[in-house]
Symmetry: C2
Subunit: 209 residues, 2 copies
DNA sequence: TAGATTGTTAATCGATTAACAATC
DNA sequence: TAGATTGTTAATCGATTAACAATC
C-alpha cells in the first residue's frame, strides 16, 4: 500500500499511541498537546510530533491534537478496523491461551479456524471454535482463504507448516516459534513473539542491576 | 553487577546468539567464524564481533570462536544457570499457559508459586504447583522471598499488586500487563511482553505490504 | 612462515532531540 | 493581536558497518 518509508522504530511505537489515546478518549479528554502526551507516555514531545508527521499533519498549531480524531487516524493506520481472516495453528497450552485471551477482532483480525496435529483435541471448543485436525488445513484454506496465520507449534515442524500456508495464500504470520519465517519468505509480513528470548533478557537485567 | 555500559540493542541480541550456538553445539560443531555465524544468523560479521567484544575476547585470531565455550560464556552472561525464585501472579488462560509452557529452569528462574484472585481456582495444579489465593501472597513472600514476579493479570489491578511485590522484595518483573512498571519503579528490572501491541504491529505490516 | 580471522578504530548511517519559523 | 503549539529543518547522539592492524 503506502508509507513504506516509515521506519520500524516509529511503527513499533504506534500501538502505544493508540493505547494511550484510547484511554484519554475514554476519560473524556478532547484535546492534547505533544508536551502533555510526552509527560504521560514517556516519549519526548519532539519525537511525538516527528512520529505523527510521518503520516500527516494531524495537529493544529496553537491548539494541539484532537484526541478522538488522532485515535481514529492511528487506528486506521494500524488497520484495527480490518477483519483479516486468521487461522491459529497449534492448540497446546499457548495456542489455546492466545485464542481465548487475545482481542483479535479489536485489532484487525478475525479468527476463523484452529488447528492441531493431535487428533485427541479435535472437536474441543476454544472461543467458540472447534479445534480441527491439521490434516484438514488444505481444504479449509481453499474454502475460506485466510490471509493470516498464528503459529503456536513446536519449532521443528514450523518450516513445513509455513511452506504450506504460504502456498495457500497466507500473507502474514504471528510467529511464536523460533523458525525464521522472514528470512525464508521475504514477501510476507512477520511479527515474532520470542517469549523465551524475552525471559532471558529479563534474566540478564536481573543479574546486572 | 557489571557491564552496565552494554547497550540494550546488544543485550536483546544475546538470546539469539545463545539459541544458535546451542543448536550448533548440539549438531557437534566445534568452531565457528564470525562470517559463518553471520550467514546463519543474519547479523553482519562486524556486528557479531562488536557484540561479543562487549563482554570479552572470546575468539582467537585466525581460528574463530569455540562453539561450546562461547555458548557457555553467553549463558553465563545471561544468567541462565541462576535459579531466581519466581512467582506467577494470575492463573487465567495466559498465566496457566505461561506456567505450563515456559522452560523457566533453563533460563535462570525457578517457579515456586502461582497466585490468582479467583477463589475457585485454588488448589488446582499447574506444572505441579497448586494455584494459591492472592490473599496468601504476603505470607508466602515473607517465607520464601521470591525475587521475580510474572504478571499475567488484568492491567487494572497491576499497580496495586506491583506495589506490594516491590515492597516484599521482588526485583524483577516479566510483565504481560500494560501497567508501566519501569516508569514507576526505576530500580527494578522489567521486561514487557505486550502481545496486543505485537498483534497491531502485524496488522500494520499486513496493510502495508 | 602464510593464511585466516579476530579485536578495535574509523566511517557511515539512522534515529532522536533541539530549535525555530509557520500558523492557528 | 498575542500566546500557544505545531510542522519541519538542523544538530546531536548512538548504533551499525567497514577497514585494517594485531596475532594466532
Amino acid at each position: 500500500m503506502a508509507k513504506n518509508d516509515v521506519s520500524l522504530s516509529v511503527i513499533k511505537r504506534l500501538p502505544r499511541y493508540y493505547r494511550f489515546l484510547g484511554e484519554m478518549k475514554k476519560a473524556g479528554l478532547q484535546r492534547i498537546s505533544s508536551s502533555e502526551l510526552s509527560k504521560r507516555m514517556g516519549f519526548t514531545a519532539s519525537q511525538i510530533r516527528q512520529d505523527l508527521n510521518c503520516f500527516g499533519g494531524f495537529g493544529q498549531q496553537g491548539y494541539g491534537y484532537n484526541v478522538s480524531q488522532l485515535y481514529a487516524e492511528i487506528g486506521k493506520i494500524l488497520g484495527v478496523n480490518k477483519k483479516a481472516k486468521t487461522v491459529l495453528i497449534g492448540a497446546g497450552n499457548l495456542g489455546r491461551a492466545v485464542a481465548a485471551h487475545m482481542s483479535f477482532e479489536e485489532r484487525g483480525f478475525n479468527l476463523i479456524g484452529i488447528f492441531d496435529r493431535n487428533e485427541a483435541l479435535a472437536g474441543q471448543l476454544v472461543r467458540g471454535l472447534p479445534i480441527r485436525h491439521i490434516g484438514g488445513l488444505y481444504d479449509f484454506c481453499r474454502e475460506n482463504a485466510p490471509t493470516v496465520a498464528v503459529l503456536c507449534i513446536p519449532s521443528d515442524n514450523a518450516a513445513e507448516v509455513t511452506e504450506e500456508l504460504v502456498r495457500l495464500g497466507v500473507k502474514g504470520f504471528w510467529n511464536f516459534t523460533h523458525y525464521d519465517i522472514a528470512a525464508n519468505y521475504p514477501g510476507v509480513a512477520v511479527e515474532n513473539v520470542h517469549l523465551s528470548d524475552s525471559l532471558m533478557t529479563l534474566s540478564y537485567h536481573l543479574n546486572n542491576l
